[in-house]
Every structure is written in structure tokens, then in C-alpha cells.
Symmetry: C2
Subunit: 340 residues, 2 copies
Amino acid sequence: MKKSSIADVANLAKVSKSTVSQYLNNRFNYMSDETKQRIEHAIKELNYQPNIVARSLKQKKSSTIGVVLSSILHTFSTKVIRSIEDYFQERGFHIILCNSDDDPEKERNYIVMLRAKQVDGLIVFPTGHNKDLYQFMLNEAFPVIFIDRTVSDIHADAILLDNEKAVFAAMKHFVENNHKRIAIVGNAPSLNITTRQERLQSYQNAIKQFNLPFDKELIVEAELGLLSKKVGKLFTLQSPPTALLAINELSFLEVLHYIKVVKLDVPNDLSLISIDDIANADIFTPSITTVSQPVYEMGEKAAELLYHRIMNKEKHIESQTFRFSPRLIIRESSAKNRKS
Amino acid sequence: MKKSSIADVANLAKVSKSTVSQYLNNRFNYMSDETKQRIEHAIKELNYQPNIVARSLKQKKSSTIGVVLSSILHTFSTKVIRSIEDYFQERGFHIILCNSDDDPEKERNYIVMLRAKQVDGLIVFPTGHNKDLYQFMLNEAFPVIFIDRTVSDIHADAILLDNEKAVFAAMKHFVENNHKRIAIVGNAPSLNITTRQERLQSYQNAIKQFNLPFDKELIVEAELGLLSKKVGKLFTLQSPPTALLAINELSFLEVLHYIKVVKLDVPNDLSLISIDDIANADIFTPSITTVSQPVYEMGEKAAELLYHRIMNKEKHIESQTFRFSPRLIIRESSAKNRKS
DNA sequence: TTGAAAGCGCTAACAT
DNA sequence: ATGTTAGCGCTTTCAA
């Protein structure tokens, strides 16, 4: 039993294909009740389902968007996808999901393929290493939104955390609690990810601003997997840090892993804050002080911007960058410094 | 500057569309080097990208599969998606992601739409409430794989945890540690989710098998959000439980939340085990004993089965159910009962 | 109020 | 070794 097409419905209902098409698209302006009934009946009879691929081909739009993530195994990404899906689901769009793993090559392939599949737009966590491709899309006014990171010289819409604020909020909290030796820990130094760069830069700015002595030994950067070991070195320093700021969830988890292994007492030995959303931060013991992102709003804004661009493809829209304000959520992992 | 089509390439290269099509599909058997060069050049010149929607229409396949999850905000789902994506990415397939939120209505709409988009197959975490639709797909031999749960009377492939083993492993561990009053906590009693049903049933079986007195007050079921309160009641019992088994991640998190609020001492006041993957189970304090699922293998198996069905659509393939063995990972949250 | 016909961009059978 | 042609299933313009 082959799948039936609009032609089959037309035959059975004894009308033309175009009339059926009208019916399918709810254009009843001129349709007689009787025809309507007959078509309705034929559709039921044949179990007919319109073929959206054919429609897409004709209409040159797919009602599908692509999302290229760095990794889905990341709380922030998960929540962003969720909010994007909620937004687009209401508007009849579907989402194709791809993981770039922060591999520029994979990112490129995915973007090319998604466009070949005629997605109407893209939301990308950019690796930052495919500038020609990003620029190419902008040149053809193909709707692209960056989220979480941006790319220098590429004027696409970007949804970002106000990283400066985030770092300052954490640093201020530390300073107010009498911490002077504050370490910062980050991953993926090999990639040009603006988020990482901005957070590290802000750390240095904050050090100055709060009149703390700068010590580059307190800046720890390494690829995931190597981070624990490097964090360990912090505690062999003459004067080890009393506070530590993790740049994101992945770094934080490695730090916490180390802490668990060597049984450091948080917050008495070390105060801890992480930027980013940490899964279950509130029910850790101690619960984790975080500088959290308004994830849902960020995802929604990305979706909204993209949708707007898709719906107004002919118009030129200036690209915009949105910086969302983080929120310091003080929990148990950060406390007064009792060491000095 | 309009997008160019295969016809534009053909014109520019002064060959026919079919030749270009041959080129695109790497069928060089009979192609002269010169034509090849010319086509190659024209493609570069025009920045040509094939339109996969058109190809899909013609070939009646989309190289896209749909995944209908209950929720992406669930560690198990996240990891399953990840492994499915890894599998299909290597084979040139893309994945459309949808969240049903365990709402049968949403599930139905998604499945219908995904099929209208001509996905080649589906992987579904079934709500269990759209049997007619599941059966309809099976009747037309449309490739569908169930994962995490199955649906009674519906003979689709299913990838499941061996829930009996999972519950018995946890119960055995409790019993060996001298626990007699063992509670079980689960969510979503309103839905016919086989996973929940099997785990609860196995609990009762285990109680018998281990010769423990059965007490239905130790079985706590409620919708998420109401669970904490009901768990609280356990500790107002004459003889409260010394051990507790959470049926899945979501239940577990509510339990842990409660424990955190009332400051129960785990494992001294209460030993705790959760079935399912808990994000960061290993770095909680205390770290959490879990009965973990071989998630990656399960996702991969689902992908593999689906791929196999897609590639052999004409053949009839008997449906199979795969039960994967869980693994008890003993961590700090479960210990000897010192209360009796 | 409905129908005929063209065309979206591609593939594939067949012809040359 | 390459070209011609029909057709995938739909929408849309124009005609009736």
C-alpha cells in the first residue's frame, strides 16, 4: 500500500489538485461546503499526509532551523536548546541538532550540510575558526545567530553573557570576604573562544581594580583532563590561593574532582565560585556559589532574533549584540577567609 | 545574487544537468577528465551547493531521523542523544530533536509532523499513550525504535534497561548492609510508563525474595514537585526507613533536595541509591551510589537498529527487545545500617 | 468556485 | 562519455 499523494486525494474527491491544496492550506474563501466534505472524506479514506519535503522545495523554506552546539553534554547547552525548542515549536518549526565538539572542521561540515538541507536559519555556538564561512553567510543575508560566544570581526547577532560583570561579581564577593589570593581556572586555551578570553581579561581587570597583587601563577589554563593536575600545583605554592573562580562548568567539575580527591575543605580551605550553570549546584554539599546565566532568556532571545530574521528575509537588519546580566547566587561554597 | 542550481552549473560548464548530477554523486566511471574539470570549476565559480530537499523529494528519503524525547533536561536523554548523533553523523544523517514532555498530545503532533517531513525513521521515548499511532507505523513498516520504555502490545524494537536486575542489585546491596526498612520513591504515577511499573514491581518481588516484611507505606509515588513532601512523611513513621531507592534521576533529585533541607545525614541516617544516571554523582558529597545504565551502548544500539531498518526497508525484520544490564556503582551514600 | 499547467531542483532510465 | 526526458509532490498563477 503506497503512500498517497495529493493527486490521489484529488482523484478520489473528484476535484483538482489545486483545490485540495487550497483545502490543505485552509483557504476556504471560495470553497463550497460540498467540495470541502468530499476532500475531507478522501483524506481520511486514504490516510493522507502532506509531504512537507515537496512543499519545502516549492516554497523554498523548510520550517527547520539548525543548532550547532559545542557539546550537548553541557548544562548550559541543554537548557538553551530547551528554550529554543519551546519557542520554535509554537511556530511550527523543527530543530536539527549537531555537536561540533568545538572542532572547527566538524562545525564547518555541519553548517554546510544544514544549509544544503535548506534550514531557514542557524543558531551557532561558534568555534571561532571558520570566519570565511560565517562571513559568507552574512554576505548572503542568511540568518545566523551566535550564542555563548562571538567572533571578532564577524558582525552577526550575538547573545552573550556580560562576562565582565560576571567575573566582577565573583571577585567582589571574594574580596568582600577578605580573600586576596584568588585563582582563576579555565579550559580550552587552544581555541579562540571569546567567552574564555573575556573572562580571563576581566579577571586581570578586577585584580587591578580591587588593588590586589597580580600573580600569574594564580591563572591556571589547560585542556580538560589536564586541568586537575595543574590545579594541584596551586596548592604547592608558597602562598596558595584561598579562593578560586572556575570559568565555566567543565573547568569547575575538574576542580571539584580534584578537591574531592585530596579532600580539601570547602569553604574553609578554599572558597569556590563557578561561572556558568552547574547541574545540581544547589544540592551539592556544600552547595555551590555560582554566577549564573539567565539561560532561558538567552535561548529565547536567540530564537526570537532568528525567527525575526527568517520572517523578514528581504529587509536588511543591523546585527546586534545582546549582553545578558549574570546573577551571583551565594551558596555554601564561598565564605569568609579565615586564613589571614 | 540568487542561489544557483544544478542547471546553472550545467550551463556554465556547457554540459547537461545529468552529467553534473553524476559528478555530484561521484559517479566518474565514464566521465572525461576535461568535463570533470569544467564542472568543478563552474561549481566553484557559482558557489554552488546542492539542494538536499530536492534530492530528498526525488529519492524519497531525507537522511534525517527524528528523536522524540520526554525531556532533554535529563542526563540519560542527553547522553543517549549524544551517542545517537555520533552514530548517525558518521553515516551522513541528521537528527531532528523534539521534547514531548511526556505529554501524549505533544508526542502525537511531533510524530505526525516528523513523518510529514519524511524522516527516515524515529527513535522514541514513548509516553505509551498513542498506541494507535505506534501500531499504524508498524503496520506500514515505518522504522521506529523505542528506548528507555516500551509499550505493551506494541511490537516495536525496544532498548531497555533490565529493570528487574537494577532493582535487585540495589536491594541486595541494601540487604547485605543489614537494611530491613527500605523505601522506594518514584514519580509520574499518572502515566503508563513501563520503566516505572517494572521497577516498582521488581521492588515488591525483591521484598519477597529477601524475606522482608512488606509495608506499602514505604512505597512513595507522586508527581514531581509533590514528591518532597511525601518523602517527608516517611520519616514521621513509627519505624522510618533506613534505606531509600530512587527510581530515576528526577525522583532522586527531589529526594536529595528534601534531605538537604532537613539535614539528614547520609549514609548514617539514611542510605541512598538511585537508579539512572545522575549528573555528577561521583563528586557529590557524599558521592552517590547508583545503578547506572550503559547509556552510550544503549543509544548506539538504538541507532544501529534504526539504521539497519532504514537500510533494509523492503525486508521484514522481526522486532526485538534488548535488555541491557545495569551496573551497581557503590559510592558513599550507601553504608551499613547502624540503627538496629 | 474550481481547474490546468508550470515549475521548485534534483535523479535516473534510456537514448545516443 | 554525455544528453534528453520524465517525474518526485506540492504550490501558485491564471484562466474558466
